[in-house]
């Protein structure tokens, strides 16, 4: 009998958490039209976007280079090394750009957000804001949410572009694929709406997911050192799994066989 009681209690607890998270997202979404929050948001773009730039550029470069190296060794067997360009570009734009950026973003920015907000809660900064009649959703959550939503697609675009350039360095400069065919077959294959814009849509969705999870985990963290460390771990684990699961759904919807 205890099993059923526990199952029910867990389900209710999870549902309550989802409701709580949705209310928080709602509050953050509609806290935009505050002119004085714009400097706060710009500062958060610096924290979330600019400070993630280095890891994004370096990993984009190396992933593009590795893809060119791996793709070349297989394609050259069929004399199809001209297709290296579209292979690198399509896999970066459609999949690796949004997904790897979101995973890195969850690890680099999401965990920091959870820890920061959890510590704010533990040191009762959020309560003090409420005491001063300042809505913490508006003052703390919303700027971080919107800054992340702006930064994430930008980082994904930079990742893809740097990766394609990295593929060019390895494929054309080192392995001797013809530069003309690298770019021209890529141009003939990659489509603006279908490939580039769908990749950006993916990164927006992943950004929403990562930020929502990170902010909620921080906001609802148990205000002890152990609770914060647990919340930070959960942010990275849950958002990584959600990204990978959602990626399959989005890919099936966008590029799946009709």
């Amino acid at each position: 009998m205890n099993v059923f009681v526990n199952l029910g209690a867990t389900t209710l607890h999870k549902l309550q958490a989802i409701g709580n998270a949705s209310l928080m997202l709602w509050g953050a979404l509609f806290a935009v039209p505050r002119l004085k929050n714009i400097p706060l948001t710009i500062y958060q773009i610096y924290v979330l976007g600019v400070q993630s730039l280095l890891i994004i550029i370096v990993s984009g470069l190396f992933i593009g280079m590795v893809m060119a190296l791996q793709g070349y060794t297989i394609l050259v067997n069929y004399g199809a090394e001209g297709s290296l360009g579209p292979m690198v570009a399509l896999s970066l734009l459609r999949e690796l750009g949004p997904v790897v950026t979101a995973l890195l973003f969850a690890g680099r920015a999401g965990s920091a957000l959870t820890a920061e907000i959890g510590l704010m809660k533990a040191t009762e900064q959020l309560s003090s804001l409420e005491m001063m009649a300042v809505d913490p959703l508006r003052r703390v959550i919303a700027p971080r949410f919107w800054a992340g939503m702006i930064s994430m697609p930008m980082l994904a675009i930079i990742f893809s572009a740097v990766g394609i350039l990295g593929g060019h360095v390895v494929g054309v400069d080192w392995l001797g694929v013809d530069a003309g065919s690298y770019w021209s077959i890529m141009q003939a294959t990659v489509e603006w709406e279908a490939d580039v814009l769908n990749g950006v849509i993916k990164s927006v969705v992943f950004g929403l997911v990562v930020l929502w999870i990170a902010l909620y985990k921080g906001y609802s963290a148990i205000p002890t050192s152990e609770g914060i460390s647990k919340a930070t771990t959960e942010t990275v684990v849950v958002s990584s799994l959600t990204i990978l699961g959602l990626d399959f759904v989005l890919t099936a919807l966008m590029f799946g066989v009709n």
């Binding site: 706060l40 610096y46 930079i158 893809s160 572009a161 740097v162 003939a188 603006w192 580039v196």
Partner: protein, 159 residues
Amino acid sequence: MTSRKTELLVGIFVAITIAATLLLALQVANKGVSGSSETYTVFAKFDNIGGLKARSSVKVGGVVVGRVSRIYLDDKELIPVVQMEISMDYINTFPETSSVSILTAGLLGEQYVGLQPGFIFPGEDPIFLEQDSFVVDTKSALVLEDLIGQFLFSRDSSS
């Protein structure tokens, strides 16, 4: 609060993103060149289009002059009709006697429409391909299975 340095770094971040978007738009997806120019529509009927798809290119001697916009089945004759958008730069260039064939780029490459400009007889007023004209002389895609079938059949009958 935001200091001057933060704003500058965010500005650099935005500038890098714009540069990356431009790279993706112009260099990777080739958005600016192919999408903007005006086109005229030409149709061609084939017996078999093989692996031709919408957005395959139309080439004259290797130069891309247009793209396949739509492929559909003629509802009376039940044969495929390929609708092509040719760039306005090439209006009044190709004579009506031009022929189109479906070719393959390399052994494993994608299929494209090859346009072979026809003759202009000296002394006559040339008639050019224009909006909504049909190209009459068409050659279908090479289907490997048919070719093997023909080969086997011809060998069988000769022995």
